[in-house]
């Protein structure tokens, strides 16, 4: 019986296949090197511009003249070659792709490691480098080694203050930072059906933190309904009795708020164990936790109160921002004293807008807490949105009471 990765790539685990891709995207960071490689390759024609996307999300709006010039060159390249461009303010590439672009069964490549996020739709979605992307844009295809699969068997239902991010931290801790290298994760079991599309995107997003190529869910009625809301017609995928290399069982009823402590994402503690840790900054957003459900959850907790520490909220996309405005969620976040940034990656990679100073401590809803990532000498703790909200109000890491 095939795993979903084997079914989509059309070959058993361990085989090397050349496969046409359905969607191939790059962002303002990797796109610069993709364009350089295409120039060096002498490519003057792209066979399928309709399958390509450029999305400006990493440093938006541009922070320096150099960044602005590099973005202007990419903008011009997109215009000349007929590539759809999502310019500054549209949002994070994975989020933009999740809003009615990626569909079940597709092969999706992105020049960003968190492309695994889009496995949440039952697509084979994986990250590649900039030169690989250039060859994909030039040829329409690439090679894959079909991965072995580790099953993540979810049972039960989240309760109390636990949310999908805590499940993500739990499986990363269980597998470790290289526990799934070269492999795919498949999220299955009765518990998977209880998780919303926004929550599944959070779970798939962190697959790469275990080394995995993708983190994949079977498309079901939740997927079909979500895509219908975005104007896309899709059908559910029928799970087979797949043969996994191994299976990690997670009972959602047992999940409690968790925190990854510096400087490893797989060093995970119960939030209670690190409660009281002083914070200089709280950051809510990114391709992990910048979606509408995340902003709404944050607003529910900070509503009518004031944050006690510098708190940055970056919506993952313009659509998320617009919905947060329409429903009043954004006003509650602003009234609570938060800084609201433009849709994009924000301070996650330490290049602009919210860089940490020496010795500063940040609680972030992102996916990486590598040493110095958000600024030299800064320390990063990773948590759920509810933990971030409760902690923002207290100025120190705090266990949330409700999700």
């Amino acid at each position: 019986m095939s795993t979903l990765s084997e079914a989509i790539l059309g070959a058993p685990a361990g085989s090397y296949v050349d496969r046409e891709v359905d969607i191939a995207f790059a962002h303002d960071g990797t796109g610069v090197l993709t364009r350089e490689a295409l120039r060096e390759m002498g490519v003057e024609h792209l066979p399928h511009p309709d399958r390509l996307r450029l999305i400006f999300d990493h440093i938006v709006p541009a922070n320096t003249g150099t960044t602005a010039t590099l973005q202007a060159e990419l903008r011009e390249y997109a215009r000349v070659f007929g590539i759809a461009l999502s310019d500054a303010g549209c949002g994070i590439c994975h989020q933009v792709m999740s809003e009615g672009v990626v569909r079940p069964g597709m092969v999706v490549v992105g020049a960003d490691s968190h492309t695994c996020t889009l496995g949440a739709f039952g697509a084979f979605a994986t990250g590649v480098g900039a030169t690989d992307m250039a060859a994909i844009w030039a040829s329409g295809e690439t090679w894959f080694r079909v991965p072995e699969t580790i099953g993540i068997d979810l049972s039960g239902r989240l309760s109390g203050a636990a949310e999908p991010k805590d499940v993500a931290l739990a499986y990363v801790a269980a597998l470790g930072m290289e526990g799934a290298t070269y492999r795919a994760l498949e999220f299955v079991g009765d518990g998977a059906a209880t998780i919303s599309m926004d929550g599944r995107l959070t779970l798939s997003n962190m697959a790469v933190e275990t080394g995995a190529k993708t983190g994949i869910f079977y498309a079901d009625s939740v997927t079909v309904r979500y895509l219908a809301e975005h104007g896309v017609t899709a059908s559910p995928q029928v799970p087979e009795d797949s043969c996994y290399e191994r299976t990690v069982a997670i009972d959602l009823d047992d999940i409690v708020p968790l925190v990854a402590v510096p400087h490893r994402v797989d060093t995970v503690r119960e939030a209670e164990e690190v409660a009281g840790t002083h914070l200089d900054q709280v950051f809510v957003g990114t391709c992990t936790n910048g979606r509408y459900e995340d902003l709404a959850r944050f607003a529910r907790i900070v509503r009518g109160k004031k944050v006690a520490v510098r708190t940055l909220v970056f919506p993952a996309s313009r659509a998320v921002l617009a919905r947060a405005i329409a429903t009043g969620v954004l006003a509650e976040i602003v009234d609570a004293g938060c800084v609201v940034g433009s849709p994009g990656c924000g301070p996650c990679l330490g290049a602009h807008a919210g860089v940490l100073g020496e010795g500063e401590v940040c609680l972030s809803t992102a996916n990486r807490n590598f040493k110095n990532r958000m600024g030299v000498g800064g320390e990063i703790y990773l948590s759920s949105v509810a933990t971030a909200a409760a902690s923002a109000l207290a100025g120190e890491i705090t266990v949330p009471e409700v999700a």
Binding site: Y16, G29, T30, V32, L33, E36, A37, E40, M41, G42, I59, T64, T66, T67, L70, A111, D112, S113, G127, V128, G129, A130, T131, D132, A134, A135, A138, W143, R145, M177, E178, T181, Y182, G211, K213, R264, L349, G350, A351, V355, R368, F370, K371, N372, R373, V376
Partner: protein, 156 residues
């Protein structure tokens, strides 16, 4: 494909942020990446990389897909990277920019002479030989061409 150089030993889980920090990515000037390579890990490393073979532990190059990481190593003069295991995007990126990557479990001492032969599938450290995992035919062809760009040009 063969090569040799003095070893620079690194540990496990060296992420691409540590190889080249996010604050140095916004340029096309490759010398900037070579200049700041490993700055946040150990600022004394960069000058020792020319002609050297990096010998790392498990999960080398994890994290971001940034290709600047492998370009920085190549531009700094690194001859090859040997590691017990690699993060997959880093591994693919290295091959694509013509930087040999060798999956092998070896004992490392800084400055030890490391030699490798990708075709025969071995790495030697101070004369002691270890088996190296074979690359796919396509990867070998790309490496032999000097990276994906020259491979593309020669195959068209």
């Amino acid at each position: 494909m063969q090569g040799a150089g003095p070893a620079v030993c690194l540990g496990n889980d060296i992420d691409t942020d540590l190889i080249i920090a996010g604050r140095y990515l916004r340029t096309k000037d490759r010398s900037v990446w070579a200049e700041h390579v490993f700055e946040d890990l150990d600022p004394t490393l960069a000058p020792r990389l020319s002609g050297a073979v990096i010998v790392a532990g498990r999960n080398m190059g994890c994290g971001s897909s940034r290709e600047q990481a492998v370009v920085a190593l190549r531009e700094a003069g690194v001859v090859a990277v040997v590691a017990e295991s690699f993060a997959r995007i880093f591994f693919r990126n290295a091959v694509n920019v013509g930087l040999p990557v060798i999956e092998a479990s070896v004992a490392c001492t800084d400055g030890a002479r490391v030699a490798f032969d990708l075709d025969s599938g071995w790495v030697e450290v101070d004369g002691r030989r270890y088996p190296a995992r074979a690359l796919s035919e396509k990867m070998v062809a790309i490496l032999r061409a000097g990276g994906l760009v020259p491979y593309w040009r020669s195959s068209r």
